[in-house]
Homo-oligomer: 146 residues x 2
DNA sequence: AGCTTATGTATGCAGTTGCATTTATTGCAT
DNA sequence: ATGCAATAAATGCAACTGCATACATAAGCT
């Protein structure tokens, strides 16, 4: 704890910040150009869509996306307002919301994926070999612990 | 162009988004706890401080940090309002602003570094070997091109 | 010179985020 | 059962961001 990072570490850190900002901007731009909502809409819709019975608690969306509590809350407000998602009271624990994606929400998610996938591939996937992608995922996994 | 990414690529991409969000949150939290301003203040102050004569054009800050044009503009507004930075008209090209960091700005940058450095090390550097850090930087560099 | 395009910066406005707090429900200890 | 800490979600308000556009200067063309 509280040791100083080496120069290599600082370089890698700065690269991480810079590169990710650039990549996200590029991907978001693709979605925007296609008239689609932002990345996080996709991620939230996707989490719920992939969950068993297409239902998931709000808190779990939060955990999986690493978005802030109020960010998820308000994003779900908007998704709900646009008829993409519904909030239901949870039977087992009245503190939770259970989210259910609507047909419209699922359709939107599906329509976003080709654009999103192409952007991932163009800006990210096509620049790495399979081994490199795995290597990167491995390194990132090491950074995920407590 | 427009090929579909493989599963490994999508995994790596999602890890990248998730991990970076988590890391940034942790680092920002450290700064906040220490009563210091956000990360991007540091990055902007640092770019200007490191530049020759501690002066840099606004557009170059933008390019180096990968922040949006108006983000830099308004961040500099705040830095200027707080007496950390000054805008000067550029002699060579009247469209440019030349930014100059003040003593107060330099002092703030210096006071932020130990906190920032410790956070980088704790959440990032100490989880990677030197070779891994270099490997990560190498992979990120491959993602940086056009 | 005058016109057109390009570049760097600023800004009004609507939408979003962050902070701190509130409300609601649950579980645990007494 | 009652009180108290813990967890999930929502919200008022101030700050920030994104978009589109405006403004200012510069560079190139005729």
């Amino acid at each position: 704890m509280h040791a100083k990072p080496t120069a290599e570490v600082v370089d890698a850190w700065i690269s991480l910040l810079r590169t990710e900002r650039t990549l996200i901007d590029k991907v978001e731009e693709r979605l925007k150009r296609a008239g689609l909502p932002p990345l996080d809409w996709y991620h939230v819709l996707n989490e719920v869509d992939q969950a068993p019975k297409s239902m998931l608690r709000q808190a779990q969306v939060q955990e999986r996306t690493q978005l802030a509590q109020y960010t998820v809350c308000r994003l779900v407000d908007r998704l709900e307002r646009d008829g993409l998602m519904q909030r239901h009271p949870c039977q087992q624990d009245g503190r939770n919301n259970v989210l259910r994606i609507t047909g419209k929400g699922r359709a939107l998610r599906r329509s976003m994926w080709p654009i999103y996938a192409a952007a991932i591939d163009d800006h990210f996937g096509s620049r790495l070999t399979r081994a490199e992608a795995e290597q990167l995922a491995g390194l990132l996994a090491k950074l995920d612990g407590a």
